[in-house]
């Protein structure tokens, strides 16, 4: 599969945008401006950007908490992301929820819930709806290595496998679940081994190689779209920051970080672009500049965005709220009298 130059540059753009946006958010966090915690995908951006760029417009993502790149690719703007992190009304959840709990149905982004792996059965159900309606759409969903230990992972993959649903399960294997290393999460070497137990084809890719991620995604999507059923794609990577920005991650061996720093997905993509004459320093500089402006503007926008007002707390619990007063009762007479008891 050949990837066109413009697509490669797009991959690069989103990698950079993701890194820069999250760096900005981390900065704002250090300045005490962020509400709550900050979870970044630093060093792992290639996974989210790669799988999201490989999708079609009508497809859906059911992401997890290290998928900033996928939000951006789907069209959730840096403005809205920062507004969300600041608890402002212009965030996708209008201040009701925070940080990476970003969702927008019009953009095909399912809003992540904290409860890890809960998104997987939901993704399977979305895929089921496509199958039932005969639509050629697919779902991409992502999860951490740790979250694959949850029962919902099992129930979702099994269901998707039985019904050959058009869903592709990604796993961001960044080797830690908070402080817990892989060997305390599972007794197998690769998360992918878990998926084989469902009869789902699996693949293991270098999650820091965006081109590899993108290609694997394209293949799996094509198969899913044609009725070939789900695929599980394990993307090996490394969490380069703490679990969230308050965590210094002392429990991670320094050498491991060093090893992976050398494999940074952005540096790698830059080398690739330059090495293959697809871009030069100037082009990359232009992209960087453009992104800096975009993020400055977004920060500005978000900081100026109003907070929701206290009373908005009460809004939106129900899609169909029940009016306190009714005008017409549904029936003139009582049903109590007409009942026959059989036993």
């Amino acid at each position: 599969m050949d990837i066109e130059k413009k697509d490669l540059l797009q991959l690069y753009y989103y990698l950079k945008l993701t890194r820069s946006l999250e760096d900005r958010i981390t900065n704002l966090y250090r300045q005490g401006k962020i509400v709550g915690g900050v979870y970044t995908s630093n060093g792992q951006e290639a996974i989210a950007v790669g799988y999201a760029c490989a999708l079609e417009k009508d497809d859906i993502i059911a992401p997890f908490h290290r998928d900033m790149g996928a939000f951006l690719v789907r069209g959730i703007t840096p403005k809205r992301v920062i507004a969300q992190y600041l608890g402002k009304r212009d965030g996708p959840t209008k201040g009701k929820d925070g940080n990476v709990h970003v969702g927008d149905l019009k953009l095909g982004v399912i809003c992540f819930v904290s409860h890890l792996a809960d998104n997987l059965p939901v993704a399977a159900g979305i895929a089921l709806s496509f199958k039932l309606r005969g639509e050629k759409r697919i779902v991409a969903t992502n999860t951490g290595d740790g979250a694959t230990s949850r029962g919902d992972f099992h129930e979702a993959l099994n269901f998707a496998a039985i019904h050959k649903l058009p869903v592709v399960f990604f796993c961001n294997n960044n080797q830690y679940a908070y402080s817990t290393p892989l060997r305390l999460q599972m007794a197998v070497k690769d998360v992918a081994e878990r998926a084989s137990g469902y009869g789902i084809p699996t693949e293991i890719v270098d999650g820091n190689d965006i081109i590899a991620v993108y290609k694997s995604a394209r293949n799996a999507y094509a198969r899913a779209r044609e009725g070939g059923g789900p695929t599980f794609i394990e993307c090996k990577t490394m969490r380069m920051h703490g679990h969230s920005e308050h965590d210094d991650a002392k429990y991670v061996p320094k050498e491991l970080l060093e090893e992976w720093r050398a494999r940074d997905p952005i540096l790698r993509m830059e080398k690739y672009l330059i090495g293959n004459n697809l871009a030069d320093e100037k082009v990359l500089k232009e992209i960087e500049d453009k992104i800096r402006i975009e993020i400055d503007e977004a920060t500005d926008f978000a900081e100026k965005s109003p907070y929701p007002e206290g009373r908005e707390t009460l809004e939106g619990v129900y899609a169909d709220p029940i009016e306190e007063e009714v005008t017409v009762h549904e029936r003139g007479k009582l049903s109590g009298g007409n009942i026959t008891r059989v036993a």
């Binding site: 149905l105 819930v113 809960d118 399977a124 159900g125 919902d152 039985i162 619990v317 059989v342």
Partner: protein, 324 residues
Amino acid sequence: MKEVSYLEAISQGLRDEMRRDKNVFILGEDVGVYGGAFKVTQGFYDEFGPERVIDTPLAESGFTGAAIGAALMGMRPVVEMQFSDFITCAFDQIVTMAAKSHYRWGASVPIVIRAPYGGMIHGGPFHSGCPEGWFFQTPGLKLVAPSTPYDAKGLMKAAIRDNDPVIYFEHKYLYRRIKAEIPDDDYIVPIGRAEIKRPGNDISLITYGAMVHVALDAAKILEGEGIDLEVIDLRTLLPLDKRTIFGSAKKTNKVIILHEASKTGGIGAEVSALIAEELFDSLDGPIVRIAAPDTPVPFSPPLEEFYMPKAGDVVSAAKRLAAY
């Protein structure tokens, strides 16, 4: 108008909606070829095919989550729990994923979860439960619990058309024990509306589910004692129909609450608290609750018999309260 059982009324509501709206589909254990453990979906597989009547693996969290996903895409899935007791296995998906979705990001989750519940079928601790209380402190959910064939069909249709997640508690004891003539045609019983099943002037008895019939029995006995019981069937448990509850309590000034679920933390506590808070000045006596004791549902017939609230309990409570 044809006389149908409570169970047939549920089926009818479900079948009608599936015919009316191709987005409605069913999933759960043994709902397809077998027609469901209680045969509510008997014949559905033949009529609607395996794509709309899906036999799932034994995985309540998984298939409830799948229903939520499909609902987010505009489908209207109806999930069957084989027994409502097993809904504990799907608790997380319901309260975390479905209930909070619209509030958080404006995405509605129009699923219906059918939950066959309740005792007196010698089911023991795991096949007799009344789990409605576990879901009651969950803003974003709606809970309904019909007591008659009319309400069963009308609430099923309302639940399927509603854009919020609805748990539909259908009482197993009533399935084949209650019949009534109900309209063949399309009607709904709106969610959020209680109904006065027997008007009365002396005491308001507020209840739902199978206990409605226990209350009506008690009302008949009390007639003989000169006590005129008003029987209110909540029908919708969440959100509660305060208007009907308050209207009745204001009229009679005396309230008994009756439910099959165990007493502590039951829905009756909320009904009582609402009245004690908002209608204190209208009250002429204590707010009495009659409920099962705070134990799991026991298996052996004499234990289960002891466990269940009975018409006699209502009668004696009403007499005591009338004396106030």
